[in-house]
């Protein structure tokens, strides 16, 4: 391993690292909000909302992430409103991941005993209030490990941004590669940058899972 590549091009790597982290964080927030909304749709007492929620999840989960990214990259530009690679890629990541997060949140909500809903409703809380004040706060604890796993997936998946020139780690690694012609070492360092993010997260998820197991 030639560490001079890492030291010489550290700024380039760092720029890409920043892009990967930023895109993953933005997509995490976006996919959580969207996923929570879709999860509530999927168990809502209104049939149209349930249909929409199910259709959304089933459709998005069964197409590749890259296709979702293409939809937000090529789609708007075909309609005359081009988005840059970073924006289109991050929106694509958020939409794709939201379908998985919706399923995780739905499973978490369904794991809360029915008696909780019944008690809340008979105390006079509306459906929306019951969700917001009683069910969601309890479900969130169960949902943290799968959410953590989705965040790890997001970080890894953000590498597709490079395909639409999305200024992420893989994209900047290409710049290093074309200057050094040392593909093996260049991308070994890229792997290290990803592992710095994903390994501690994986460990954290496992610790939280074990805590939940002990409690229930």
């Amino acid at each position: 391993m030639d560490f001079t590549i890492l030291t010489d091009y550290f700024d380039v790597y760092l720029e890409g690292f920043r892009g990967t982290v930023l895109s993953s964080l933005l997509a995490l927030v976006g996919s959580f909000l969207l996923g929570a909304l879709i999860a509530v749709f999927r168990i809502a007492p209104v049939r149209v909302l349930r249909w929409f929620g199910t259709g959304y999840v089933e459709f998005i989960r069964n197409i590749p992430l890259l296709l979702v990214v293409y939809i937000f990259y090529y789609g708007p530009s075909a309609l005359g409103l081009p988005l840059d690679g970073f924006t289109a890629g991050t929106i694509g990541l958020a939409v794709y991941t939201s379908s998985f997060i919706a399923e995780a949140i739905r499973a978490g909500i369904l794991a809360i005993p029915k008696g909780q809903t019944e008690a809340a409703r008979s105390s006079g809380l509306s459906y929306a209030q019951t969700m917001l004040h009683i069910i969601l706060p309890q479900a969130i604890k169960l949902v943290i490990p799968p959410l953590g796993n989705q965040f790890i997936n997001l970080i890894k998946n953000s590498s597709v941004l490079t395909i639409v020139a999305g200024l992420d780690l893989m994209y900047f690694a290409d710049i290093v590669n074309t200057e050094t012609y040392r593909t093996f070492d260049t991308y070994l360092f890229v792997a290290l940058f990803y592992l710095v993010l994903t390994l501690p997260l994986s460990y954290g998820v496992r610790v939280w899972e074990r805590r939940l197991e002990r409690r229930y």
Partner: protein
């Protein structure tokens, strides 16, 4: 939007060629990663000394890296150490390494989910530990693994699209080329490609549901 132009016989057969490559690559990778994943998962389950910890480290490392990086590495970094893989071989190798790590965890988890009482009963009826694994734990464990395995295979099929980074002529690569012919083709082609991926994956999940109901 030019649906007639986008869906010309020429474009459709070009996309069909891409789909064939996608299916071949996915099929080969599913078979290989399932076999390797089973072996690794069983070794991890039996906690063989030396080998099991090494495999644990390998599995954790691979699971925490982006698949896109692994595929890219197989194609462009390995030649520097004298390993030249063609487009299809590099994609299948990358997919297999990554998905086998995922499947190994599914297999290990499935086997570990078999109740201790089953193993104790088998052992006290005089079965050896290998016999117990083969006749008692594996058949029951495999049944429980069907749903997560099928969703992993669906992921694998979607993930073949990441091979656009090495220009494998699969479905997404060909879709990108057709979109490049004119922005009026963009939306019709994205719709069609989404429908294709969705249909293939939908068939897979229907088969999975059938398998579950038949066995349980």
């Amino acid at each position: 939007m030019d649906f007639a132009g986008a869906y010309s016989a020429e474009n459709l057969s070009f996309l069909a060629e891409g789909l064939v490559v996608t299916l071949i690559v996915a099929g080969a990778s599913i078979v290989l990663s399932f076999l390797i994943g089973c072996v690794v998962g069983i070794i991890r389950y039996t906690q063989l000394p030396v080998l099991s910890p090494i495999l644990l480290a390998g599995v954790e490392l691979i699971r925490n890296l982006p698949l896109l990086l692994i595929i890219f590495f197989m194609r462009f970094a390995l030649p520097e150490i004298g390993i030249n893989l063609g487009l299809v071989a590099a994609t299948v190798t990358g997919l297999t390494i990554f998905e086998a790590a995922m499947i190994a965890e599914i297999v290990r988890g499935g086997l570990a989910s078999i109740e201790k009482g089953q193993i104790e009963a088998a052992r006290s009826s005089g079965l050896g530990s290998l016999q117990t694994l083969w006749h008692i734990v594996l058949p029951q464990g495999l049944r429980r693994m069907v749903p997560p395995l099928v969703s992993q295979f669906i992921s694998l099929l979607k993930d073949t699209s990441l091979a656009v980074v090495i220009s494998l002529p699969e479905l997404m690569h060909h879709a990108g080329i057709v979109i490049g012919h004119g922005y009026t083709y963009t939306i019709p082609i994205l719709l069609l490609v989404a429908l294709i991926y969705f249909s293939v994956n939908f068939v897979l999940s229907v088969i999975s549901r059938r398998l579950e109901t038949r066995h349980v």
